[in-house]
Symmetry: C2
Subunit: 136 residues, 2 copies
């Protein structure tokens, strides 16, 4: 297995164990000092135990589907479609590996918004099913 294949396999397992809430398997993929960053709030969480608590405590009966996954030697990026009840949202995640384990996670949660006026002559409505947010 090449390093890129290993990185991809770790990323796939990271998301599959998260979706299964198999926190002990999920934890084995993380470095002791894993750092989780949420740039939109400016928050970080440092350390495996805290990051596991954050995930275990996270509210809502969510499930996730990986809709894109790219990997190179030490980095992976993914888009996810999260479903909570009848709501769908998209997350974008970057993973950085060190010695084959996830050492840094960066999460982005974009939200739907109204299209600005003035470009209707260029645009139509309609995007790929995999990126379809629930719009209120």
């Amino acid at each position: 297995m090449t390093t890129t294949e290993h990185t991809r396999a770790v990323a796939e397992r990271y998301f599959s164990t998260m979706n299964a809430r198999d926190w002990s398997a999920f934890g084995t993929l993380l470095t002791d000092d894993v750092r989780y960053e949420l740039p939109q709030t400016g928050e970080q969480i440092t350390g495996r135990d805290r990051y596991l608590s954050f995930n275990q405590d996270y509210p809502g009966d969510w499930r996730l589907e990986v809709t894109r996954l790219l990997a190179d030697d030490a980095n992976a990026s993914a888009s996810l479609l999260f479903t909570v009840g009848d709501q769908q949202m998209v997350a974008l995640v970057f993973l950085e590996l060190r010695d084959g384990l996830v050492a840094r996670v960066t999460d982005f949660w974009p939200e739907p918004y109204d299209a600005p006026a003035g470009r209707e002559h260029l645009t139509q409505q309609g995007v790929s099913e995999r990126d379809r947010f629930t719009r209120s």
Copy 2:
């Protein structure tokens, strides 16, 4: 050059010509029927001419820096730091290539928001410089 190296090179040139507003060079990287999707508004733009118009007309004296770039055979993903005056924002972009040209672009624009209460025992403030939004 492998296909992955070609995809990476096209992605790098896509962003460098965009940043330089070199729209004729930018246009040579796109398929005739390129599709641009903005899942947060539900908009799509189809065709090279319309997509070029959209970019040429886009307001603001922005500049961009590529902060992450991953590529495989036919896909690339990137995070960008956009600067407009004293404002900084992050964009996440996925490119899909066909016959070596960009055939689909999906853009996400997350926005800053306040951290929810109740997890202060797990979090600290502070994220990587490359993902630092201007917070109002």
